[in-house]
């Protein structure tokens, strides 16, 4: 540009050079951020009647476009981009693609209004529950369509979190991913007090975990003089200072990441938040947040702190065992199906952590495969949970699920499929996922973890099968809940979940190879 040339002709010795940004490599994230911003403008300007449809179309189009961009980026060379702040490598593409696919499924659930009287989202979040104002909002048919841009921001944060190559950007991504989820967890239409309580709990604990992350970031920066993962790794090998600063920093960052993926003992928020949040958001959180958090966990621990593996591996052993045990045992006593699925997701996090304890290439690829399988089966399971309704809304208590198999065999059969997948039985994707993870753990030297894992799987299988038996073996109550037929959008989401679960169960090799090609993480 002539102006730029004229400026540089002045030969300013202090001139700050423009940073080099590879726009194509970060295009998927830019698309989702852009869709989110346009979504806010839609909220501001589009008349209320058209808002929901506009937002749905915009969000879906954006996610599909971002997925296309991710696929198109697979041909790019693997490198650090944006002045080494973002890693555009194989795992990034794989995880971003997974997150986008899961988000499309979750978005279909969020957008569906045909289940029950209206959508699962609150009419107007600012109304106090139980007041006349709330009733007036419901009568007026209002709908808080801000859930769409909020969900888009969360997706953008989820995409950036595993891709970030320096701790500050990871923190920014963590906040962008978490803050909309705090809001979304409080926006259920029915049982609003429970939902708001879940949101407050999530917010308080999440705020503390973000604070831990920042504190750990500061300590690590003090040790390594840099926040980039590569520089941290270099300083670990070459520094002759004492380790205490970086170990404490690593512990604090680890606490924050374990919070995000419900690792024991930072899992306390999971059952309450999963139960209170509107079910589409629970599906979104269970799938997307875990994938993003595991991606970030792998990158931070393997790339940045790989040199400290001797220090953190025993702790990961302990956390993995505790997580699997807590998820398995506490799930047995649950009577609410959403809480039960929450504890099962804790158990799954534990299974993934067993592979994480072995820092080999096989462990990285097996974790990626497990995330794909787990994400889709969870979205499908929560979609079915949305369909079991009675007069007050969703019927989540297990006692109301008795005999649903007789009343609606198709939906119960699909739910049984997802439960079998979670239990790890053939011919579902869960089986191969567990095989891959346990194999990687065993080969990495974590044999005891595999034993605990198998035992925990057996316990979780017990309560999954108990639900299946409950659904199919007894007669349904006369005034019990019905299984509503899903609208087009929810049906699409369920079909997506079923398809992935069965396809990955029958022919897992394609995705396994894809995961294998994606790793290793760029160092």
């Amino acid at each position: 540009m002539r102006l730029l040339a004229a400026f540089h002709a002045a030969a300013n010795p202090n001139a700050i050079p423009a940073p080099h940004i590879e726009y194509r490599a970060i295009l998927p994230m830019l698309i989702v951020f852009g869709v989110a911003c346009v979504g806010v403008l839609v909220e501001a300007f589009v008349p209320r009647v058209h808002r929901a449809v506009t937002q749905t179309v915009l969000a879906l189009a954006g996610l599909v476009a971002a997925l296309v961009a991710v696929v198109a980026n697979t041909g790019l060379p693997r490198r650090l981009v944006v002045q080494s702040a973002v890693a555009a490598d194989g795992p990034t593409l794989f995880i971003q693609g997974t997150i986008l696919a899961l988000s499309i499924g979750a978005l279909l659930l969020i957008a569906d209004r045909s289940i029950g009287a209206d959508s699962d989202f609150v009419a107007q979040a600012a109304d106090l529950p139980g007041t006349e104002q709330e009733r007036a909002s419901v009568r007026a048919g209002l709908r808080q369509t801000e859930v769409f841009p909020l969900a888009m921001f969360a997706v953008a944060g989820m995409m950036l979190f595993p891709a970030a190559n320096d701790l500050v950007l990871a923190f920014v991504a963590l906040e962008v991913l978490s803050l909309p989820l705090y809001l979304l967890a409080g926006m259920a239409r029915r049982r609003r007090l429970l939902s708001q309580e879940a949101a407050v709990k999530y917010f308080l604990l999440g705020a503390f975990s973000s604070a831990f992350f920042v504190y750990g970031l500061a300590l690590v920066y003090g040790y390594a003089k840099s926040v980039e993962y590569g520089d941290i790794a270099t300083s670990l090998t070459s520094s002759d200072r004492g380790d205490s600063l970086v170990i404490v920093g690593l512990a604090l960052i680890g606490i924050s990441l374990l919070f995000k993926l419900s690792g024991v003992p930072f899992h306390w928020w999971t059952p309450d938040v999963y139960q209170g949040a509107p079910t589409p958001i629970t599906a979104f959180m269970a799938a997307g947040t875990k994938v993003a958090a595991f991606g970030a966990l792998l990158r931070v621990f393997f790339v940045a702190f790989g040199g400290l593996a001797w220090d953190w591996r025993p702790v990961v052993w302990g956390v993995a065992i505790a997580t699997m045990v807590v998820g398995a045992i506490l799930g047995v006593t649950q009577t609410d199906v959403k809480r039960l699925l929450a504890y099962s997701s804790i158990a799954h996090a534990g299974f993934i952590l067993t592979a994480f304890a072995a820092t080999t290439r096989a462990s990285e690829s097996s974790v990626l495969f497990y995330l794909v399988a787990y994400g889709f089966m969870n979205i499908g399971a929560f979609a079915i949970v949305m369909l079991v309704r009675d007069a007050d809304g969703e019927a989540n208590h297990l006692s109301r699920w008795v005999g649903l198999g007789r009343r609606s065999p198709l939906m119960a059969g699909i739910f049984a499929l997802f439960l079998l997948a979670m239990a790890g039985l053939p011919p579902t994707s869960g089986l191969w996922a567990k095989v891959a993870v346990f194999q990687a753990a065993y080969q990495g030297g974590a044999g005891p973890l595999v034993i605990v894992g198998v035992l925990a799987s057996a316990v979780t299988a017990y309560y999954y099968l108990r639900i299946i038996v409950l659904m199919f073996s007894q007669e349904p109550a006369v005034e019990g809940p019905t299984v509503v037929m899903p609208g087009a959008l929810s049906a699409a989401a369920i079909a997506l979940g079923v398809a992935v679960t069965i396809v990955l169960g029958v022919v897992p090799q394609t995705v396994l190879d894809l995961a294998d090609k994606a790793v290793p993480f760029l160092r």
């Binding site: 102006l3 002045a10 080494s84 320096d166 840099s226 926040v227």
Partner: protein
């Protein structure tokens, strides 16, 4: 590559100063501190007297003229009177916070003045020093921080008084101050774009040939409005106007604690005026005809120019108080949020764009600035007229029945009321519910007199 991504040049490093103040002799620091303190207290006393005299003259009366020549000692007398009043702490008040709030309000007000440049380098007893208590590289940010701290005093005073009206008054004052602080902060950005520094002495130095009011005209206009709103002065003084919510946040305060709040308010006024002088009116530099005299900007003379400019700005404060009626609360909150912020943001972008296009030749950018300023002002007028028209259209009263005069009485009594009363809502519903009911509840004119 180390560091946060890419190399961060230290953009906030201190520019080279003229003989440094940050290494003053200790007794010089003490002298300057005492001088600033005395100046602020005297300026407050003077301002109180000047306000009462000038507003009185504008209202065609005389104002205080008894105590001392021209009533000059009136403020001192008032201060002594306040000291001799009974010190009451309300029973419901939170004692610790209640006593601490005036202190929290007063201290930042004093401290904000530390970075205002009164003049260039002078020589005191052989030592060279700037006529400025201290010169930070982030001086303007320091002033903004101090005025933000002062808001604590207001809110805590209102809350700790243990009574609902001070609480509401305090929260309203704080909300107003905070809203106008954004407009103020944004107008500073316009100043930094031309000055290239946050340091007040650098900003005055950047106005050597052209005052800031020309470089950043819209920022000046917005700052002028924002500084009046920030200090809770007329016409934005609803939270503490005498006819409003009693005394606002300082209702329950007596004696010298009340005097401290009063002091803090006037010192804030002096501070924002001094800041306007420094940022936009050339600081201690002499205006054009005088600046032709080469000695005008050397030595102790600039102190005089600074005080004259400060006096003019303070006079404008008093002038506004004497002239304009008070804004309603929602009106000036709307002004602060909906007008000042977008105008300021657009102006910042415009100024930045103009500077990119041509940095050196001032003629090519003064014209776009003036044109843009005119467009913005015109646009705001048009927007205001449009909005007022739409509001009137929404609130236009429906043409009702004419008032019926009462011819029976020989005296000039007012009309009896509308020819037909509108039906009560309940009767409308009842009428719709059971169609064809009698209109017994609708009072017509005949019923009233029967």
């Amino acid at each position: 590559m180390t560091g946060l991504g890419y190399a961060m040049t230290p953009v906030l490093a201190a520019a080279p100063l003229s003989p440094p103040t940050h290494r003053d002799i200790w007794w010089l620091i003490i002298i300057k501190t005492l001088a600033i303190f005395a100046f602020l207290v005297l300026a407050t006393l003077f301002m109180i007297w000047a306000e009462r005299r000038v507003v009185a003259r504008m209202q065609q009366r005389i104002g205080p003229n008894r105590v001392g020549p021209f009533g000059l000692l009136q403020s001192l007398a008032d201060g002594l009177k306040l000291a001799l009043k009974e010190d009451i702490v309300p029973a419901m008040a939170d004692k610790a916070v209640y006593i601490l709030a005036p202190v929290i309000s007063a201290i930042p007000a004093f401290m904000a003045f530390a970075v205002i440049p009164f003049g260039p380098t002078v020589s005191i007893a052989g030592h060279h020093t700037n006529l400025q208590l201290t010169d930070l590289p982030v001086a303007v940010l320091f002033v903004l921080a101090m005025s933000s701290l002062g808001v604590y005093g207001i809110v805590l005073a209102g809350w700790s008084s243990g009574s609902p009206y001070p609480l509401l008054g305090g929260v309203r004052s704080a909300a107003q101050v905070v809203s106008y602080e954004i407009a103020m902060g944004l107008s500073f950005v316009g100043v930094f774009l031309y000055a290239g520094s946050l340091s007040t002495s650098q900003i005055v130095a950047a106005q050597a040939h052209r005052w800031g009011i020309l470089w950043a005209a819209i920022s000046f206009a917005v700052y002028a409005i924002a500084m009046v709103g920030e200090t809770n002065r007329a016409p934005f003084d609803l939270p503490e106007g005498e006819t409003e919510i009693v005394g606002g946040f300082h209702t329950e305060y007596t004696s010298l604690k009340f005097a401290l709040f009063y002091l803090a308010e006037y010192i804030n006024m002096v501070t924002v005026s001094a800041l306007m002088t420094t940022l936009f009116l050339g600081g201690w530099r002499a205006p054009w005809p005088i600046s032709l005299w080469s000695e005008a900007n050397v030595g102790w003379w600039p102190l005089l120019w600074f005080l004259i400019k400060l006096g003019i700005v303070l006079f404008v404060f008093i002038w506004l108080r004497g002239t304009l009626p008070r804004f309603r609360y929602d009106q000036f909150m709307q002004l602060g949020w909906k007008v000042l912020i977008p105008v300021n943001l657009l102006w910042i972008l415009a100024e930045a764009a103009i500077r990119v296009v041509n940095v050196s030749n001032w003629r090519t950018w003064v014209i776009p600035i003036v044109v843009l300023a005119a467009l913005l002002i015109l646009g705001s007028f048009i927007a205001d007229v449009v909005q007022r028209r739409s509001e009137e259209r929404m609130q236009m009263p429906r043409v009702g029945p004419a008032l019926v005069p009462n011819p029976d009485s020989p005296y000039p009594v007012p009309a009896l009321g509308p020819a037909t009363h509108p039906p009560l809502a309940a009767t409308v519903a009842a009428r719709e519910g059971a169609s064809g009911e009698s209109h017994s509840d609708v009072r017509t004119e005949g019923d009233g007199r029967a």
